[in-house]
């Protein structure tokens, strides 16, 4: 089929040519001239500006970094001044950890309720002696000038149990209560005299010292079988004097006493001696609670001893193997740790940066926690840290651990509103200029397979002519580069590479930043050298130097006066290329 097509094509061409055989031959387009066309060409005489850094260029920084195995699209940013920097950001939300602490359960106080019988002797009046001297028939009504009873009652109460205290609690200051009252009720069932007889009550209820207020006055008129009641709002408990650590360790309770003492007295009381006894009886009740029978805590001053360690793993990058022997100088990175919280906790923390699994930290970043006395307001505080990336680069891996440690100052009061929802967020921002230090030297070397067919074609071309490119280069990018190319032939039998002889080494120089230069690539070899057809591989070497400045958006490489030195008879074997791609796909 190929032979047929070739024959047909030649015949058609011959017929076509015969059709023009009567035409005039233009002297300039002779066979000799057409066989030796000057193939030096210049493309883009006005130049093509390749902005390697600018976002408008197809040759973007992230594209270039991807080409060397660094997927930088997520963390390459451009600053307002046009300079590029690497920005890595992430955040940790510790809200769930905090809610897990159960702040509303830090302090639980049970309501206090008691109601006990009382019985007091009549004071200042000898009723037994009176009954002894008065005959029974004469024991009617008498007016007694002065009757009084002394009241003295002490009740033990328990507020907190040591075993219920959370581990982190080492001290409590003021516990502000929410609508909590202490209510005292006094009832006498058999006060002497008529039912309408009023007595003067003058007593004081002494509450525990950590109560605020610490006493309740019971003053007023009291009658038989009528409850005398007084209450007072308890604003807070001040427990700063209580050793909670000892309570928890000894499993003791926070207990105290409520003491009631005073007198119940009346003058000129008309009594019936026949029915009068030597004592007066009744009940006394005390309750410390809110309307629902509970003691609700509005806020607590507490000293907390709490530590939390958490490791946060984030994607990072490792230098490709090709850079293993490179000398890379990087500028210091700025790491900002921003903490947002609505807590009033004396917290301090740090984050150790380390390669995943590494024992030692490459860098430590400290941070502070803001202090918010109003749970509805989140305060924010940013801590600036400087990190040496040269150390980090040595440990760089595909992932990076942020080992965070947070601890409270147990000697400083925390302020907690148990009903509030507390949260904390830790934002990490890492920023560094996209620049290499002046001492950077990156050497990249690799042997690339060209393919036997393509190599043979190149070899055949080089047997007859040279190929090359010349261009004027202006470079403002803060790196320069030297590229060398060697052609090799691979001997499968011996597993060795043999250098393909060229007239001169292929060397390309990208001028230093801010300089202009001539890009000159010319590949030529001894004409007719059969060894050229053994070309199968290419050894590519790139040395990159830097000047320490950051890459900016307006940096560019301009190529002007591009000359292509084209060989005669250049052709691409599309089938060979296609087969190669298919093989790669397989």
């Amino acid at each position: 089929m190929k032979k047929f097509l070739k024959t047909t094509g030649i015949a058609a061409l011959a017929a076509f040519a015969l059709a023009f055989s009567s035409c005039n031959v233009e002297p300039a387009y002779t066979l000799e001239n057409l066989q030796n066309i000057d193939l030096n060409v210049t493309l883009f005489q006005n130049g093509i500006q390749l902005r390697l850094a600018d976002s408008s260029s197809v040759f973007r920084v992230d594209t270039l970094m991807k080409s060397v195995g660094l997927d930088s699209s997520e963390f390459i940013k451009q600053g307002p001044d046009g300079s590029y920097y690497i920005s890595y950001s992430d955040s940790m939300d510790l809200t769930e950890d905090i809610s897990g602490i159960g702040l509303d359960e830090v302090i639980t106080i049970d309501a206090v309720n008691f109601n006990e019988d009382i019985s007091y002797n009549l004071e200042g009046f000898d009723l037994a002696n009176l009954l002894a001297i008065v005959p029974p028939e004469l024991q009617g009504e008498y007016t007694i000038p002065d009757i009084h009873y002394d009241i003295d009652k002490t009740v033990d109460i328990e507020l907190l149990s040591g075993q219920d205290l959370p581990e982190m609690l080492v001290g409590v200051g003021d516990i502000v209560l929410d609508q909590v009252y202490t209510t005292v009720e006094l009832l006498f069932t058999d006060l002497p005299g008529q039912d309408t007889q009023e007595y003067d009550l003058d007593a004081t209820v002494t509450l525990p010292a950590f109560f605020d207020p610490t006493s309740i006055e019971l003053k007023g008129k009291i009658k038989k079988n009528e409850v005398f009641s007084r209450n007072v709002q308890i604003n807070k408990f001040n427990l700063s004097a209580v050793d909670f650590v000892a309570m928890r360790e000894n499993n003791t309770t926070l207990s105290d006493q409520i003491v009631i003492n005073g007198t119940v007295a009346a003058e000129n009381v008309v009594v019936n001696l026949a029915g009068m006894g030597p004592t007066v009886n009744g009940t006394i009740g005390v309750a410390v609670a809110d309307a629902n029978g509970k003691i609700l805590v509005k806020s607590i001053q507490a000293k907390i001893d709490y530590q939390m360690n958490q490791t946060f793993t984030s994607a990072f990058f490792a230098l490709p193997e090709a850079f293993s022997d490179a000398t890379i100088e990087l500028p210091d990175a700025t790491v900002d740790l921003t903490v947002k919280t609505n807590m009033a906790l004396p917290l301090a923390g740090s984050a150790d940066l380390k390669a995943q699994g590494a024992a030692a930290a490459v860098a430590t970043i400290n941070f502070e926690v803001p202090y918010s006395l109003d749970p509805s307001v989140f305060e924010e505080k940013t801590s600036h840290n400087t990190v040496s990336l040269n150390d980090l680069l040595e440990e760089a891996a595909d992932s990076l651990d942020f080992v965070t440690s947070i601890a409270t100052d147990k000697n400083t009061w925390c302020y907690i509103e148990p009903a509030a929802e507390y949260g904390m967020q830790l934002d990490i921002d890492l920023s560094l200029p996209l620049a290499f230090g002046a001492g950077t030297l990156i050497h990249f070397a690799d042997t690339l397979e060209i393919g036997a067919d393509t190599g043979k074609q190149i070899g055949q071309i080089l047997q007859e002519s040279s190929i090359g490119v010349k261009a004027h280069v202006t470079n403002t990018i803060p790196i320069s580069a030297d590229v060398t190319i060697k052609f090799l032939g691979y001997d499968e039998a011996n597993g060795t590479y043999t250098a393909i002889p060229l007239n001169s080494p292929v060397s390309i120089q990208l001028p230093a930043p801010g300089e202009e230069g001539l890009l000159n690539i010319e590949i030529g070899a001894e004409k007719g050298n059969a060894a050229l057809e053994k070309l199968t591989h290419m050894e590519l070497g790139i040395d990159v130097h830097a000047n320490g400045q950051a890459l900016k958006g307006e940096d560019y490489i301009v190529l002007t006066d591009i000359y292509l030195l084209l060989p005669n008879g250049v052709h691409l074997d599309g089938n060979a290329l296609l087969d190669q791609e298919e093989n790669e796909n397989e």
């Binding site: 076509f16 009567s22 035409c23 000057d38 060409v41 210049t42 976002s55 699209s73 958006g553």
Partner: protein, 472 residues
């Protein structure tokens, strides 16, 4: 006669205003000068073949090629005059290069293959019937594309709207009649053609301005691609590339149309004939079952808001989508269009004179104009024909057309009842001698190839003649 010319004029203007098209198809002009040639009615329906004939498969094959881009536009003599350089050589200025290029630089090939042809000749009447397969590929390369390659960055926008690619294939079923009064000297004829569209596609841009300025790119593109084939459709794959799919079970005609040829032939004297005609007045209604559009204005000179909160991923993604939309035509799902595509029509006027005593020699002249949007052209030529025997004729003609000098050569011979002919309308200007492996034309030492814009039409055929031979 006046009425006919009026009608023809009206039709010509009307068709000129209808939807435009591009074509490489033109006529085999040398056939006008050739005697003993059965298919002269294709140029002018009033021309009758000398005998009745029948052709099957090999009756007539025409192939043409035209190029508005010459090798001399791409390869130039060097400054010293002793060698050649390419258009990208620094010695060739942009202005010099552009003077050799047009806004559009058409290139096209066409084929007309006769499947069946029958002609029946009587003394004053001729009927013909043909079934032809016709294919046409036309394209145009914008001159500004070459300017960009040579200049690179330029503040002058590059207008690439001249880019065009069109192809179509259709079957032509033609019935022709030519008639003259028994005692008259005016022959009129027409051909009615039914056209069955097989497939058509065209890609064209109403606007394609591209600006390159210091690394920024701005484009303003409005374009459309249409694809008509029964059972086939276009779609964008996951990469945004346009692909075609076919369902053989749904194969059907992609369009229908019709065209008409008019012609007259006036013989004031027996030895003189003046003739004229118009061909291919008509077109095809295509049902374009896939339509893809590119219409967008796009400027990419960096991100407008650069700061800590810039979402580069989104912005870059949007830019990428915009570029893809411009770079690749996007198939509009479910959109179908019907469109009338006018055939490129041709008007011609000519005359032939047989020499009084030497009646086997005739001379003639022919002028044509081809109404084509992309590659219109005119062609004027004079010819000499020798027909020493009634079954042998050779002709040579020479003239000028839009692109330069033209030459036509043709010959026909009838042996027994078998008629064979061959001819070429070709370029007759400057050629260069190119080295082609395996081909060596004597005298030149290489292959002569046109170096200026050119067109070439080749035809040949083999058919059977029968019946009595009449003089036209």
């Amino acid at each position: 006669m006046k009425k006919i010319l009026t009608i023809v004029s009206i039709l010509t203007v009307a068709f000129s205003l209808l939807s435009v098209r591009a074509s490489a198809q033109d006529k085999f002009q040398s056939g006008f000068f050739l005697d003993n040639y059965n298919y002269g009615y294709r140029l002018n329906p009033a021309i009758m073949s000398e005998k009745s004939f029948f052709g099957l498969g090999t009756g007539n094959v025409e192939m043409g090629i035209s190029s508005g881009l010459g090798i001399s536009s791409l390869i130039y003599p060097n400054a010293a005059g002793d060698g050649l350089v390419t258009f990208l050589h620094p010695d060739v200025s942009v202005d010099e290069m552009m003077s050799h290029l047009g806004k559009d630089n058409p290139f096209g090939v066409d084929a007309n293959i006769n499947i069946l042809s029958v002609g029946k000749r009587r003394e004053n009447k001729f009927n013909s019937f043909e079934i032809n397969f016709r294919a046409d590929l036309g394209s145009s390369i914008p001159g500004d594309l070459f300017r960009f390659l040579k200049e690179g960055n330029s503040t002058d926008p590059y207008d690439l709207s001249a880019f065009y690619l069109g192809a179509k294939a259709y079957t032509e079923i033609a019935f022709g009649v030519a008639k003259r009064p028994a005692d008259g000297n005016l022959t009129v004829g027409f051909r009615l053609k039914g056209l069955i569209g097989l497939a058509s596609t065209d890609v064209r841009f109403d606007k394609a301005d591209i600006y390159f300025n210091n690394g920024t790119i701005a484009t303003d593109v409005e374009g459309k691609a249409r694809f008509a084939v029964g059972g086939g459709s276009l779609y964008n794959d996951e990469n945004g590339d346009i692909k075609a799919s076919f369902n053989q079970q749904n194969l059907r005609p992609a369009g229908f149309g019709g065209a008409i040829d008019f012609g007259f032939r006036w013989t004031p004297f027996e030895s003189l004939a003046i003739s004229g005609g118009i061909n291919d007045l008509g077109g095809i209604f295509w049902k374009y079952n896939s339509v893809a559009k590119a219409a967008d204005q796009f400027t990419f000179n960096g991100f407008e808001h650069i700061g800590k909160d810039t979402n580069y991923e989104n912005e870059l993604g949007q830019a990428k989508d915009d570029l893809l939309e411009i770079a690749n035509l996007q198939v509009i799902e479910g959109l179908e269009e019907s469109g009338f595509e006018r055939l490129a029509f041709t008007a011609n006027l000519g005359g032939r004179l047989r020499l009084p005593v030497l009646s086997f020699i005739s001379v003639g002249a022919l002028g044509i104009y081809h109404f084509d949007q992309i590659a219109p052209y005119w062609d004027v030529r004079g010819g000499l024909t020798l027909s020493p025997l009634r079954f042998i004729s050779v002709t040579a003609n020479y003239g000028k057309n839009t692109q330069g000098n033209v030459l036509g050569l043709a010959a026909s011979v009838t042996v027994l009842f078998v008629n064979a002919y061959i001819g070429v309308d070709t370029y007759a200007d400057r050629v260069g001698i190119f080295p082609v492996e395996g081909v060596n034309i004597p005298k030149y030492g290489g292959v002569p190839v046109p170096i200026d814009p050119f067109r070439c039409k080749m035809t040949f055929g083999l058919n059977m003649q029968f019946g009595q031979r009449y003089r036209n």
